[in-house]
Symmetry: C2
Subunit: 233 residues, 2 copies
DNA sequence: CTTGCAAAAATTGGATCCAATAAGCAATAT
DNA sequence: ATATTGCTTATTGGATCCAATTTTTGCAAG
């Protein structure tokens, strides 16, 4: 037999498929924050009933990606600037720690993979792909840490702020800086210098966080000014 | 109008009530790990259909408290010893950090509350209440940190291992030690010594984790020996 | 007595239907 | 003109029903 067998028992249920699709759409920013997700509309999009849609929405809410009010539906969660700041601070605590565990265990294959990811990120011009490639680079370095729980928590945290990160990369010199910082982190990993790699990662995340918060504060101020000038409420 | 109004819109839906009840039952250890949760049975217990039950199970799975296989139902998640070790290590990283942020901001009321919690924990003889009281003490100290995201992550992490903690408190001198360590942490907080409080918290969590892992390893070895001696598979 | 297997029962995932609630709109009173 | 009330529609939460899948049971053969 020359068949590529796939484990049908492990195939995704409808609610999982919908959950994944919505999660990706939200983290990519394809769904605007504050947008309400109508069960019926999503059900028609996937050609299913509302049952699996509601199950997917429950899981998204548990991840903090949507917010639900009874009988009023689910809306894509919006983060305040302070919440974004906190999540970057949080990542800046966890990710260096994971990397510290990981550096000594990085296999040659893994370093090769990280190197490729780093290069792909550095040379990609389509900004809509930057989120994925950034994620690939960081996670490739964390994979060998032997800390699945840490990794899962970091993934959730990044998932919450990823939609805002693109703005930071596009609207400033963020992309150029990220390229350099990724290269430096990778170099430290290759030299098995865990402390340097961890310190660079912490600074990388904190810098991106500060830059992003700056952008958002300025946007807020601009918006507030406009409202005042036009006399809107 | 002299009516005590309560926000009916914020009242819990059936799926939330069921979710909370199951979450508490699992973290308390009232449901054994590996036990399968039948939708129909739970639905009858709460006098509802299976729909809200399934929604609750989805959310529990997202929290890692149950594990689901398609068409085979949900079972209470079991953690390996290594996973438990990792989660304690994780808590030992996060909780001192939260406390560091919190110490300088602790209000007199909050210190009073923490003091009461500490005392209640120290004097409670009913071991089934230790989990709640331990949680109350720690969280009262974290409340003022102004880091809701950290706090939520810590709550999830503790929720995963709480069921094992009782064993640690009961089967060793864990309770006596915990009493002392809590008192020391509280004292450091009252003196606004953030670094000492953080260090003590880290050691407190690491010690409990090591003690728990020891217990579980011994249990495992005893079990394995028994199986060998009786010739069971 | 054990093993293999087909039918029956139990269980889950999902569709359809119904009741409860919110949101929008028209009619009325002030 | 505006605020209040009642009606209509849209939407959600949940119940009931059906199909797909797993698990158990009964029975025959070795």
């Amino acid at each position: 037999m020359k068949v590529k067998a796939t484990d049908i028992a492990q195939m995704n249920s409808a609610s999982e498929v919908i959950y994944d699709a919505l999660r990706v759409a939200i983290t990519r920013g394809d769904l605007a924050e504050g947008e309400t997700l109508r069960q019926d509309r999503i059900a028609r999009m996937f050609n299913v009933s509302r049952i699996p849609v509601r199950e997917a929405l429950m899981r998204l809410e548990e991840q903090g990606l949507v917010t639900t009010q009874r009988y009023r539906g689910a809306v894509v969660s919006a983060l305040s600037i302070e919440e974004i700041r906190e999540i970057f601070e949080f990542r800046a605590l966890l990710e260096p720690e994971i990397l510290r565990y990981s550096v000594e265990r990085l296999s040659p294959d893994r370093l090769e993979q990280a190197s490729r990811s780093c290069h792909l990120f550095a040379t990609e011009t389509d900004s809509s792909r930057w989120g994925d490639l950034n994620r690939d680079f960081h996670y490739s370095l964390y994979q060998d840490a032997g800390r699945p729980y840490y990794l899962q928590v970091v993934k959730t945290a990044l998932g919450r702020v990823e939609r805002y990160l693109r703005a930071q990369l596009v609207l400033t010199d963020g992309m150029a800086r990220a390229r350099q910082e990724h290269a430096a982190i990778l170099a430290a990993c290759m030299e098995r210098d865990a402390e340097t790699a961890a310190r660079l990662t912490r600074e990388h995340i904190l810098a991106a966080g500060r830059s992003l918060v700056d952008i958002l504060v300025r946007q807020n101020e601009a918006h507030a000014t406009m409202l005042t000038e036009t006399g809107a409420p």
